[in-house]
């Protein structure tokens, strides 16, 4: 019976602490930016990789900035809806968004999406994961070789789901390397919508990232990961060296956000990612932690824009 008292007390303590933080935040905020809540746009559906990043960073950002960070979901169009929303938002540093590179670049390629990926004010990348090809546990494919053999025997008959046109391009790359033809099935809204399709055997395979492969290890097998080496959380899964696909999660602000505010946000981001708790969560989720300066972030995106403009 001690617990119930404890809980009550902790609740009250929490409320008091919350009020105290609010008061001190008000005092600190009076000096300048930021002095009101910051809106954090998540352009993919809740429960996905972007949502996880936002939720992971939220407490640290709130602490470092001294104001509330409100997470809002603006999903659709493979992320384009949310990115477009940020593009049109005021560039006063009070609206920021999650960004996924190179997805934002590929989504915008040759289409009327209403934003230019190279023009945003990038605050920093926080984590990355490599591509992963996943199948349900009960799949007839137990290895990548089996998958390739069947795809070669029946070109265009194996269905592979991915998120929007980014998934289409990445899977296309892998198919080229393996010399196979597949049928691509686009999912809108994020990986969260793809998992039940895989588990119910409605598609043969899914193109996601090593972080998703780690999270759903109990229910899904991974046939291959991208990049030069194996992924720590997925031991024994072969890597396809030539497959360079890598997803990077970061934070950005609307184009033309004042440099000093971007700097404040970058410092807050670095503080949030330095927390060992956050770091451990990143590693446990099959991601690789990243820390960048504002200049590094801009260069990182510029490189992706250059690579995909060919």
């Amino acid at each position: 019976m001690k617990t119930q008292h404890d809980y009550l007390r902790r609740g009250i303590l929490g409320a008091v602490a919350g009020a105290f933080v609010a008061i001190t935040a008000g005092a600190a905020g009076a000096a300048g930016y930021p002095d009101k809540p910051v809106t954090f746009i998540v352009p993919y559906s809740p429960g996905g990789g972007s949502d996880q990043q936002a939720r992971r960073l939220q407490p640290g950002l709130e602490k470092a900035l001294g104001v509330k960070v409100r997470i809002v979901y603006k999903t659709g169009g493979g992320g384009a809806v949310g990115f477009g929303e940020l593009w049109r938002s005021k560039n006063d540093g009070y609206t920021i968004s999650n960004v996924v590179v190179p997805n934002i670049v590929i989504t915008a390629q040759g289409k009327d999406v209403g934003f230019k990926p190279g023009k945003f004010s990038y605050i920093g990348m926080t984590a990355r994961a490599v591509g992963a090809l996943m199948v349900p546990k009960n799949s007839r494919f137990k290895s990548l070789d089996q998958f390739v053999a069947e795809a070669k025997a029946n070109p265009g008959k194996i269905t592979v789901a991915g998120v929007g046109s980014t998934g289409k391009m990445n899977m296309g790359d892998l198919a080229n390397i393996l010399g196979i033809k597949h049928a691509y099935v686009p999912v809108s809204g994020g990986v969260g919508k793809m998992i039940p399709m895989l588990l119910g055997n409605h598609v043969d395979a899914g193109m996601t990232a090593s972080s998703h492969a780690t999270k759903h290890k109990m229910k899904l097998n991974t046939l291959a990961v991208a990049g030069p080496s194996e992924v720590g959380t997925l031991p024994g899964i072969p890597n396809v060296e030539k497959w360079g696909y890598m997803t990077t999660w970061g934070v950005m602000a609307p184009p033309g956000t004042p440099a000093d505010r971007v700097k404040v946000l970058n410092a807050a981001l670095l503080k949030a990612t330095a927390d060992p708790k956050v770091r451990n969560m990143v590693i446990k989720n099959g991601l690789q932690p990243m820390r960048q300066t504002v200049a590094e972030a801009a260069a990182y995106v510029a490189a992706a824009v250059k690579k995909h403009s060919k």
Binding site: P46, D51, K157, P196
Partner: protein, 502 residues
């Protein structure tokens, strides 16, 4: 499981649960504040609490919002969340007939029944049910959406054609914006804000609340307030008896609600629509539906509430949330370092079960609070229209703005409001338009995905194979045929009556 119950029954736990329920009451009442937004706003405050209490509070909010969205739906014909659209079909006519208290108490009691049933499924049948739910692929979702569209037959009013046209308009509006799958901008007319599509909540407020306000203004000279209301003693007990006098109906609505709740991506609004449709189909006397049939209210409310706990089933079994509020709760768990999914049963089994009990208890708390406040709430309909109309307008505007913090949504709401007000005078029912708006985002992506899969393995195998596909197609055809048949019969009867009368 018993351990979970013991944990849920401690006073501290119940305190936070009740607190969550009370916040949910408020959230659901206000159109524009959805359960998703309410839970998302509450998440940071739950961090001060232990995990169990924290997510119980969120669960309580979710469950109660699925009841309280019926309050504005009944009283002012404006669903508090998209899930209460079908509640308004009969709830509002009931209020107009002076049965306001009955409508609110019935919603409340139905919500409690639905919640208890849904939570029961979560506690007892999570694994077998999710196995069935996984059989729903893109083609199955497409047919489910088509089946849900057949409700037009019972909504359309005078003309099926106008009902179909209304649904087509709704579907068309839902396709505005960047397309699913291949990210092409559609129907944006060069206006950048249209790329983000029409917000469902702002759209529904426009379709239901705004024409209502205009009608109020137009009728100012004819009536002073919405309807008569005299509080009656013993009304709560009478209503409960009335609801329970249709046990098959209650069970059917609960089963439909729970099952559709489990399907990831479908959620409470679809559950309520399908349940309402089935209630009409299986009733012997259909004449009162749409005019104030208590069963219309209970069908919708039981199902949308049963879907709330059920939407947690894919979360704990697969790690995939079944609805948007469930996704927010998943986020809250992840922030505490817990991985919602099958491993949670092993690592924190007591938490998984205590949450199930919390949802069940939230249903009961909702009923107690709801029936206490019902007589008070119903007084809204006695507010003079010249005060009520601007008040609804104000709440509608705030609601439409708040959903995305975007003034453009307010313009969309007003535009749709004026449009629906005009077409209503031409004999269109706003229901089918709202239906199209809700079902579009389910039907379109699943159709696209199913077509892509068809490219590889054939249209026949994707769309017309499998028990679920065949069943859904069969019941859809049956629905349409049935509607045509009953309409012919009714028309023939009317002609007969007319000739006898003359």
């Amino acid at each position: 499981m018993i351990e979970g119950l013991m944990q849920a029954l401690t006073p501290g736990y119940m305190l936070y649960l009740t607190l969550g329920v009370m916040i949910g009451m408020f959230v659901g009442c206000l159109p524009g504040l959805t359960a998703t937004m309410g839970t998302a706003l509450l998440v940071p405050f739950t961090f001060a609490l232990p995990t169990g209490e924290g997510i119980a509070m969120l669960g309580g909010l979710y469950v109660c919002a699925m009841f309280s969205d019926a309050i504005p739906a009944c009283l002012v014909n404006t669903p508090g969340t998209p899930a209460a659209m079908a509640t308004a079909f009969d709830g509002h006519p009931m209020v107009l007939k002076g049965r306001g208290q009955e409508a609110i108490v019935a919603s409340c009691f139905s919500s409690a029944l639905g919640t208890v049933f849904g939570a029961g499924c979560y506690l007892l049948l999570a694994w077998p049910l999710i196995t069935i739910a996984l059989k729903f692929g893109p083609a199955e979702f497409f047919w489910l959406g088509v089946f849900a569209l057949t409700i037009i037959g019972s909504l359309a009013g005078d003309s099926i054609l106008k009902g179909l046209a209304g649904a087509a308009i709704g579907l068309l509006i839902s396709s505005v914006g960047i397309s699913h799958g291949n990210e092409l901008a559609r129907f944006t007319f060069g206006i950048p804000e249209f790329r983000g599509g029409v917000s469902l909540v702002a759209g529904l407020i426009g379709i239901f609340a705004i024409p209502q306000v205009f009608s109020m203004v137009a009728e100012l000279r004819k009536k002073e307030f919405i309807a008569e209301y005299k509080p009656k003693g013993g009304e709560t007990l009478n209503t409960i008896k009335k609801v329970l006098s249709h046990p098959v109906h209650v069970l059917r609505s609960s089963v439909i609600g729970s099952f559709i709740g489990i399907l990831p991506g479908a959620g409470s609004p679809i559950a309520a629509i399908v349940s309402y449709n089935e209630a009409v189909r299986w009733s012997k006397d259909k004449s009162q539906y749409g005019k104030g049939d208590l069963r219309g209210v209970t069908a919708s409310e039981i199902a949308n509430n049963a879907a709330a706990p059920a939407a947690m089933i894919p979360l704990v079994t697969l790690g995939v949330p079944g609805s948007s509020p469930a996704a927010v709760i998943a986020g809250a768990l992840m922030l505490r370092g817990l991985n919602p999914g099958p491993e949670l049963f092993q690592s924190d089994g007591a938490l998984v079960y205590s949450f199930g009990w919390a949802l069940l208890l939230a249903g009961i708390v909702t009923f107690i609070l709801g029936s206490l406040f019902a007589p008070l709430l119903v007084r809204i309909i006695r507010i003079p229209l010249r005060l009520l109309a601007p008040l609804i307008m104000l709440l509608a505007t705030i609601g439409a703005y708040a959903i995305r913090n975007n003034i453009f949504d307010v313009y969309i709401m007003l535009g749709l409001g004026v449009f629906v007000f005009i077409v209503r005078r031409l004999g269109f029912h706003p229901g089918p338009i709202g239906l199209g708006l809700i079902l579009g985002p389910i039907i379109e992506p699943s159709l696209i995905q199913a077509l892509y899969i068809s490219d590889a393995i054939g249209v026949g195998r994707v769309f017309f194979t499998g028990t679920i596909n065949i069943t859904l197609i069969a019941v859809s055809i049956f629905s349409v045929a049935f509607v045509i048949w009953t309409r012919r019969r009714d028309q023939a009867q009317e002609r007969e009556n007319a000739s006898v009368g003359s």
